[in-house]
Amino acid sequence: MITAHQISKRFGQHEVLQGVSMKVEPGEVHAIIGPSGAGKSIFLRCINGLESFHSGSIQVGDLQLTPQTDARGDAALLQSVRKRVGMVFQQFNLFPHLNVLQNLCESPVHVLGKDRAESETLAMQLLDRVGLAAKKDSYPRQLSGGQMQRVAIARALMMKPSAILFDEPTSALDPVMAAEVLAIMGQLARDGLTMIVVTHSMSFVRGAANKVHVFENGRIVESGPTQRVMQSPEHPVTKSFLELTS
């Protein structure tokens, strides 16, 4: 489904990614953990073309992103990738001028050309699923952080993507709200959605991820099935990181 091969990226002299590879099969949930500044978010953003990279390649189904992929020249390719791979951001990024229902229906109607009534029916189902059907007419500023993130997840689901990337979805939330969001994400994992999740929540990793990748200084230092990595970490970075976060 998603294959990243030897991705490298620099900001000037600083190498933020140094040959990162990852293979995600349909239905799998991959967790990316590691200290801040290790390149986790950058890697995630490379997958749906929000960031360019200097070498390597990314395969999403039959679509391929390379260092030559140009934000302007290959806009159509990037658009196709993004229709397949949704994204949920740390800062939610809901559209403040639209209410919840409009936030959800904006892209299906204007990008996919779906009928508005049909989109609204789907939107109500998804809102129901994240427990916010009652908030359909609210504006983002009237919602709590946890509610906003749940709306953002529903909004990503509206496009019926093959996979969703989660970029630290609970880092801006207090523990109670984080728990609400993680519960939804766990449910999606059980329903078989392909997910790549950058997170600091070890309980989510233990409960929902099939595989874990540990990032440090732009490299994956350890990678493996969740059970194995969590119970018997091999790399010193993994060990110290797990000690600190447990």
Binding site: A75, Q79, R82, M87, F89, Q91, F95, P96, H97, H110
Partner: protein, 525 residues
């Protein structure tokens, strides 16, 4: 791009050919049946000034002169309003057939234009306050014992200014008089009346005509430095100016001109010499003798004068209507040009922020060029320079176009700031939902930016709407120009300032209120 350019070139050539076909001025004037003559009614009486019973129409000895002149040529006279200093440009760009507005005969002007024989012999009259002990003769201006230099007011750019500056500059040891330039004909006289100036030097027609308005002023000495007012036409086409000369000679001989001048009280003995000029018919080699008509003598029963100065409510009652009409022009100019400015501004801002790299530099240049040069110069360029390339746009549309283009630069910066103020995450979220960049701008970024830019756009609109006054340089008469014109002809400046200011405020305040409402409703959404 290339094809566009060659199309433009072709258009230019076609226009030039059309212009060349009409190059014979007299023939084209005859063809139109109308003699267009240019002047600036702001110059005031007795030349060309608004009628007091109908301020939209003009009157003055030059109006009568133009009417008589045209009828000699079997034409109808049509007045063309322009800034006094811009009249030669208007002649050059074929916006008028002749200049007839107190234009003195000077070598510089004769080098540029064809001059007629004189139609009036003017001189410069020194004025001071009645009973003044400081200034009673020209000699007082050279009095080296005076404590302070005497202050003399003149009309900026006039022959009087040149004369006075030369005169005062001649003082050897000590500066005994100081020259101060004013933009209006009668400004200096008013300043003498209030005591801010010691004296004023005016053209004799002005001094004579406005004497009743300034009863506290006295003529000092005899008029000095005679000169000629002449009519100018485009160079290189002698037929029109010859026809004008023939008509003037006939009007001088049969006393028609004297009749007009007596009517305005500006006939004097000097004007007798006009007959000599007409008789000798030798003024700079003009050879033709015209037929002699019978001489009408004696003045009209009633001499046109300015009468007493209007004051207070009379001014409000008489001039509010015409000021309101001119305010309409101000509103039309701003309401038509601003939407164009906003539209161009939005596209320039989007191009600079999201457009391809090769587009950003020229768009940046567009903005900096338009912001960095005065609106007035841009209007001049469109109005006076483009016609030389064969692209003649009427004054009204020049005003709209100039304002729109100039303000599009400011608008683009406002929109750019507005678009940039929207957090980057909004664009990323939109893109990650599969939107194209353009759709994201349209549906997500722009609607959020609008609320931010409403207040600066409204201030920009109010600024534009006051800047419409600059359009007076390209002959458009809007509120400010109308104010200047009326203020010069009535001297009721205080009342007119108040009405004009009130009109501007009445027009801008509702816009400000509307903007606050709009902002509020957007904030609620």
């Amino acid at each position: 791009m290339r094809r566009r350019f060659s199309f433009f070139l072709l258009l230019t050539v076609v226009f030039a050919a059309v212009l060349a076909a009409f190059a014979d001025d007299l023939a084209s004037v005859r063809h139109s049946g109308v003699l267009r003559w240019a002047g600036d009614q702001e110059g005031g009486g007795p030349y060309v000034y608004p009628r007091s019973d109908n301020p939209n129409a003009v009157t003055g000895f030059e109006v009568d002169l133009a009417t008589h002149l045209a009828s000699h040529l079997n034409l109808k006279a049509q007045f063309v309003q322009g800034e006094w200093t811009e009249l030669p440009e208007m002649l050059q760009t074929n916006r008028t057939d002749v200049i007839l507005n107190g234009y003195e005969l000077t070598p510089q002007r004769r080098a540029m234009m064809n001059a007629s024989i004189p139609y009036y012999i003017y001189a410069l009259q020194l004025l001071a306050k009645k009973g003044s002990s400081i200034l009673t003769t020209w000699a007082d201006l050279k009095n080296a014992n005076a404590r302070l230099p005497l202050k003399i007011g003149v009309l900026t750019g006039s022959a009087a200014e040149v004369y006075m500056r030369t005169f005062c500059g001649e003082s050897a040891a000590k500066v005994t008089c100081e020259v101060i330039g004013y933009d209006g004909n009668t400004d200096a006289m008013r300043e003498v009346e209030t005591g801010k100036l010691d004296g004023a030097l005016e053209d004799t027609p002005i001094a004579t005509f406005y004497a009743p308005r300034f009863p506290s002023l006295a003529f000092i000495g005899k008029p000095v430095s005679e000169g000629y007012y002449v009519i100018y036409a485009r160079k290189g086409e002698p037929a029109l100016i010859q026809a004008v000369n023939t008509a003037l000679i006939s009007m001088i001989r049969d006393g028609e001109l004297e009749g007009i001048y007596r009517e305005y009280g500006i006939w004097n003995d000097e004007q007798q010499r006009l007959s000599a000029i007409a008789d000798s018919a030798k003024f700079y080699g003009y050879p033709e003798a015209a037929e002699t008509g019978k001489k009408i003598n004696g003045g009209p029963a009633e001499v046109i004068t300015t009468g007493v100065r209007e004051r207070g409510w009379t001014v409000v009652r008489n001039y509010s209507g015409v000021l309101l009409e001119s305010a309409g022009m101000t509103v039309i100019l701003s309401v038509l040009s601003f939407p164009i400015a906003i539209t161009i501004g939005i596209f320039v801002a989007i191009g600079r922020l999201y457009g391809p790299r090769w587009l950003r530099f020229p768009l940046g240049g567009y903005v900096e060029f338009l912001r960095g040069t005065p609106l007035m110069l841009q209007l001049y360029f469109i109005f006076f320079f483009l016609p030389e390339l064969g692209v003649a746009i009427p004054a009204f549309w020049t005003g709209i176009l100039g304002l729109a283009i100039n303000y599009s630069a400011y608008e683009s910066e406002i929109h750019r700031a507005g678009l940039q103020a929207i957090p980057h995450g909004q664009m990323e979220a939109a893109l990650s939902l599969g939107m194209s960049r353009w759709l994201a701008i349209r549906r997500i970024i722009a609607p959020q930016a609008i609320r931010l830019v409403i207040p600066p756009i409204v201030s920009d609109f109010i600024a534009l709407y006051k800047d419409t006054s600059v359009c007076s340089v390209i002959t458009i008469v809007e509120l400010t120009k109308r104010f200047s014109v009326l203020s010069m002809s009535t001297q009721a400046t205080l009342e007119l300032v108040l009405i004009t200011g009130l009109l501007y405020l009445l027009m801008s305040y509702p816009v400000a209120v509307l903007s606050r409402r709009l902002e509020h409703s957007r904030a609620m959404a």
